[in-house]
Symmetry: C2
Subunit: 390 residues, 2 copies
């Protein structure tokens, strides 16, 4: 049994102090239901991605589900750190492909600005390796990724300018995305002149603190075509995990979990040459270095050559493979539990050719890739979406 | 495609200050792998149930998965309040019945004694309806269930003695269960003389604060028989949700979500007369009143007559239907994220006729029922397990 996304919705990502978590979730759900033409009463299972920890409210699922009119549907909250959205999609897909239901709903929501920036930084820092690396050595989350960046620069000769070019690209596309947190172009100099957060990562190398929600409706092959002429099939999903301890990793030049998840997804989807077979990709650019590692982990470039794709601007439309045409986590924003479903929203709209001119990828193969990481590779989910039924 | 539980494991439930969360999880996993004869390398997906909030560690999955030797397997954390364990089983079953993998692992773990009792009481209180009923009206979790108890006693004439008899039964069976937190019998007078927590509920009407872990290995029909001669088939699972606001409920005499989840599960499994068709049941007795509501919500007794099953001792072995032969949450303990999988552990061992003499149910129909509630009915999961392949 196969499954397809037949509707997506998302809030504008940004700093959202006026709307509470259930309001954000309900807005995304409403848009997804409208997009699919589905009545919420026909939903058979709900997977809600939310990391939480930002407020004193203990259980996000009941308040979000109730506000979104999803009671008495069965469901659960899912957490896979910043990959929670993809994990929720995975659960919704399994709910459908197992025959449990013909219509499942995946929601991702996060409201991080409930806390101050230093509080968010502390909470996210705990999300690395709490016991040793955060508490004993004081690593913040940008500092974790700074270790990847310094290792990469030392090994391959990449520069801060190369990293900056990722941010410039993603802001460029974000400037055309009305749902993005930052809708302004920046220059390499803007990035280089921004203040250091954790050397060599500067403010503009980092994704922002974001509030937002996104949702996707997954339908069985039996009913998908009743709702839409362009179901977006979930051709394959790979999932893997990695140790939270950076000191236990074999290397800081790659996220092994991402390599493993991609291997699974490519094998299942029959992908041999990703840059030829995907019209575009959405990759987890929580920091600029993360996008470069993703190029290599996903096979867009050989080991040690990912930075050249950035340097030579090969991941713009017209290049080797367009990446993060929605602005990425960097410019579109990174409401951690919602980000994976924000990527699904973008992939579906792109494959349907419904996005703004200037950031619409040419759709030739009808196939797209999503790469969503939790922590520093604690979790990795890689999803292949396709216009063609598997 | 059908799925069966082929192995289960659990730690002794109790107050466990010597073992950290990853150690508890790994112990349950090890026992489940041994029980099934499965090599951990063959596991294809992991669902970890954990509510969390007890410690400063932000992400339970990576530390538990690493300690249990489950990296680089794909997986996710699942939270459905006190029904998290059943939700994780549901996810593992879907992972198998969807064809995603032939072997999935569901783990539940909770370590609540990290906090002091007043801190636990506060945190659980937030798990009701945080915004109105906890923060504004000061309801603790026992107080929520006390509202059900007073409504029930007022409507039907049940007494505190009737509630006490649930605790007496569950302690009686717990006294024979080496994995139970409390292994001692109590009397109705012990319950009635224990101090009030939230009238009419006394200390011995309440499940304890517990640390522990449980795990189950789910296999596809293709391979289940390679591992065991007695696979325990998951014949049906129903899942539903309810508003967290007690003030919004139609009635306090029933958990509507449990009724809905049971309806789904019974329809799928073809159950018409539960007391005749199940050899035993495990129900969510977080408080004694909850077990009585479960009798009615599950159709063991007519509305308003559940307390008579307690009064007439009809849920002991030899009665209408034996319930909570492991001691229930009341005596076995209630490590909230693990409890649902603790029930699976018991159901599997009972169906295989592997439990201690004196608390082994006669197995005639080879079919058992699990009822697992999150919050005050925010989540409900009802599972039908069977010796017979569906």
């Amino acid at each position: 049994m196969d499954a397809a996304v037949i509707g997506v919705g998302m809030t504008k990502f940004g700093r959202e102090l006026e709307k509470q978590l259930p309001e954000l979730a309900a807005e995304a759900v409403e848009l997804a239901l409208e997009d699919a033409g589905v009545d919420r009463r026909d939903i058979g299972y709900v997977a809600l991605a939310n990391v939480g920890g930002w407020s004193a409210e203990f259980f996000p699922y009941p308040i979000a589900a109730e506000y979104a009119g999803l009671i008495p549907k069965g469901g659960m909250r899912i957490e896979a750190a910043c990959a929670s959205g993809s994990a929720a999609l995975h659960a919704a897909v399994m709910a459908v492909t197992s025959g449990y239901t013909d219509l499942a709903l995946a929601i991702g929501v996060e409201r991080m600005n409930e806390l101050t920036t230093p509080q968010v930084v502390e909470l996210l820092g705990r999300g690395g390796n709490f016991f040793w690396e955060f508490e004993n050595f004081g690593l913040t989350f940008p500092a974790y990724y700074a270790l990847f960046a310094t290792a990469y620069m030392q090994e391959y000769g990449a520069t801060e300018e190369d990293l900056a070019k990722i941010a410039v690209k993603n802001h460029y596309y974000g400037s055309m995305n009305p749902k993005a947190q930052f809708q302004k172009k920046i220059t390499v100099d803007d990035v280089l002149n921004s203040r250091y957060v954790a050397w060599p990562l500067k403010l503009y190398d980092c994704s922002p603190i974001t509030d937002g929600a996104a949702a996707a409706i997954v339908a069985s092959e039996k009913i998908a075509s009743k709702f839409t002429d362009t179901p977006i099939w979930i051709k394959a999903q790979g999932a893997a995990s990695g140790t939270a301890n950076l000191t236990m990793r074999k290397s800081l030049l790659s996220l092994e979990s991402a390599v493993e998840a991609a291997k699974q997804a490519y094998a299942k989807a029959g992908v041999e040459n990703p840059v030829k077979e995907f019209d575009f990709a959405l990759v987890h650019d929580c920091f600029t270095i993360a996008e470069i590692l993703a190029y290599e982990d996903l096979g867009f470039a050989k080991r040690g050559e990912g930075y050249k794709l950035a340097r030579e601007e090969q991941t713009y439309i017209g290049g080797v493979i367009p990446v993060n045409l929605d602005g990425g986590l960097k410019a579109k924003g990174h409401p951690i539990g919602a980000s994976g479903l924000g990527m699904v929203h973008e992939a579906v709209k792109q494959l349907r050719q419904e996005v703004e001119k200037g950031r619409q990828a040419p759709i030739r193969r009808g196939q797209a890739l999503i790469h969503n990481i939790g922590g520093t590779g604690h979790f990795a989910y890689v999803t292949v979406l396709s216009l063609e039924k598997p």
